[in-house]
């Protein structure tokens, strides 16, 4: 476990000594802030409108969770789709380009420890990223009256989505010494997971169910509505475990090339 921490700590350090961390953080927060502001102004305009026309039944349906927080979280997934490959591309590709993989693989640590350390390092950086966006939820809680439980489950979903993205990006980074190649292939895989359920209604019953189950967004949406189903959580955990397993195997295979 100390080895896992050593690798994770090194990864975190290199994120924060290079401009990568700050560019990603600033860009992510700028985009999230823009989305938050536009949903919030829409919401307050509608509230003002219904109040003016005295439609209390409409006013009762207005809900900060459904109209601000849920769409915000869903849009964050789209930003992550683009940002996470940029976070993960360097994890192994850079080691190979620098020839530092030779140091890691000849040290008394296992490839599983290296994989977990890298995942943990990128995961902690992601937690920082996610933590910064809590300010939006904080603003809603301070000025409005959203349901706290729904926000918590939404963030749990976002956490699982992000960690799955990171694990998949980690895997593509083990395949190449070129960071661009790692980022592009991660992006393709993530987008595929995101859109895989789209033809579900047209491809027949069995295939539709399979595609629907594989779809990442299908498992995420219920959480933004406050619904945590164990099969959804298991879906994300298995994606993470499978991607980490593939990364470890791929790393081990470096020895045989």
């Amino acid at each position: 476990m100390t080895n896992v921490w050593a690798i994770a700590y090194k990864e975190l350090r290199s994120y924060f000594v290079s401009p990568v961390a700050y560019v990603v953080l600033a860009g992510f927060l700028l985009l999230c802030g823009w989305f938050f502001w536009s949903y919030l102004t829409q919401f307050s305009q509608m509230v003002a409108m219904y109040a003016q026309f005295q439609q209390p039944q409409m006013l009762e349906q207005m809900n900060l969770n459904d109209m601000v927080m849920a769409p915000l979280l869903q849009n964050m997934v789209i930003i992550l789709l683009i940002m996470v490959p940029l976070i993960t591309m360097r994890l192994f590709a850079e080691e190979r380009a620098n020839c530092t993989d030779e140091l890691l693989l000849t040290s008394p640590i296992e490839t599983l420890e290296i994989t977990l350390g890298k995942f943990l390092g990128a995961g902690i950086f992601y937690l920082v990223l996610l933590g910064c966006t809590l300010v939006y939820a904080g603003i809603l809680l301070y000025f409005g009256d959203p349901e706290v439980g729904t926000i918590v489950t939404g963030y749990l979903g976002l956490l699982l989505v992000g960690l799955s993205f990171i694990a998949l990006g980690l895997f593509t980074s083990t395949l190449t010494s070129n960071q661009i190649v790692a980022a592009v292939s991660a992006f393709v895989i993530l987008l595929l997971f995101f859109a895989i359920g789209w033809p579900a209604s047209t491809v027949g019953e069995t295939a539709g169910v399979v595609l629907g189950y594989l779809s990442l967004i299908e498992h995420f949406q219920p959480m933004t509505a406050g619904l945590v189903v164990s099969s959804d959580v298991i879906y994300f955990l298995s994606v993470i475990a499978f991607a980490l397993f593939l990364s470890q195997r791929s790393l081990e295979s470096l020895r045989w090339r």
Binding site: C99, T106, I109
Partner: protein
């Protein structure tokens, strides 16, 4: 203690090394000589557990390289051909990271880092990003990395590459000092370096060991160049063409400058040219 027995490694159908057998005892510096591409790096990578051999066995510090890889990796210090450094880290934070993954305990860590930096004379650049350092300093930090966990066996792939003559002498002295109670294997294609530094040389060409020579008594060392060319000649016919120059060079070495930095460089370019 390093014992290598019939080690063979295939890359696809190409045999990078074939039936390599040699051994080195504690207190010994074993020089691994050979033209570029002869299989020196491949052998070292197998010994350090970076990759497995196709057949044959190897023992390092009493442990089998394939069966007990982790025990071997705990006891080995390895300097790869390319310094395995992270450009954005400082030597101090880099050595801290390396000592962690090499299993140095938290209590011993500060002292181990200071000792490795002092031994390689890199203390004065301890807090500069490695990416901004010169080639020589990078190489020294990389050597410090191999020493930090005080390993029983040191494997150094061309340790003096990129260093200036003064640093080459310092590193030679360092290696000699380290070898007192350790086994050191180093590869080089600079012949005078081998004669000055090694107790024993193993010459490898086209993946096979072509000669093994004990230099322990200091005898017959000046013939090493002629010997090297003789045993590696069968794979490069053009070598004969440069034979005369080589003889003149070996006289230079015999003339006894021990600061052979300049002649090193000449040899270096020469070996490069003859391949």
């Amino acid at each position: 203690m390093v014992e290598v027995d019939c080690l063979t490694k295939y890359y696809g159908g190409f045999a990078a090394i074939q039936d390599v057998t040699f051994s080195a005892k504690p207190g010994q510096v074993l020089g691994f000589l050979g033209p570029n591409g002869a299989g020196k790096t491949t052998t070292m990578r197998i010994l350090t557990g970076y990759m497995p051999a196709s057949s044959g066995t190897a023992q390092v510090a009493g442990y089998d390289v394939f069966e007990e890889s982790r025990e071997v990796r705990r006891r080995i210090g390895y300097l790869p051909e390319t310094p395995p450094v992270y450009p954005e880290m400082t030597p101090r934070s880099y050595l801290d990271f390396v000592s962690r993954i090499k299993g140095v305990t938290k209590r011993e860590r500060p002292e181990a880092i200071e000792r490795a930096m002092a031994a390689t004379q890199s203390l004065d650049v301890g807090n500069q990003p490695i990416g901004t350092l010169s080639r020589g300093y990078k190489q020294r930090v990389a050597i410090a990395q191999a020493l930090v966990h005080n390993p029983e066996v040191l494997i150094l792939d061309e340790p003096t590459i990129g260093l200036d003559p003064k640093q080459i002498i310092e590193i030679r002295n360092l290696v000699r000092g380290l070898a007192e109670d350790r086994t050191v294997i180093l590869s080089t294609h600079i012949l005078p370096e081998a004669t000055q530094l090694c107790d024993k040389v193993v010459i490898i060409a086209q993946g096979q060991i072509v000669a093994e020579e004990d230099l322990g008594m200091g005898g017959a060392t000046e013939d090493l160049e002629a010997f090297f060319l003789k045993v590696t000649a069968h794979d490069a016919v053009e070598l004969n063409a440069v034979d005369p120059t080589v003889t003149s060079n070996s006289t230079e070495v015999e003339a006894g400058e021990d600061t052979s930095g300049v002649s090193d460089m000449m040899h270096d370019s020469e070996t490069g040219g003859t391949e």
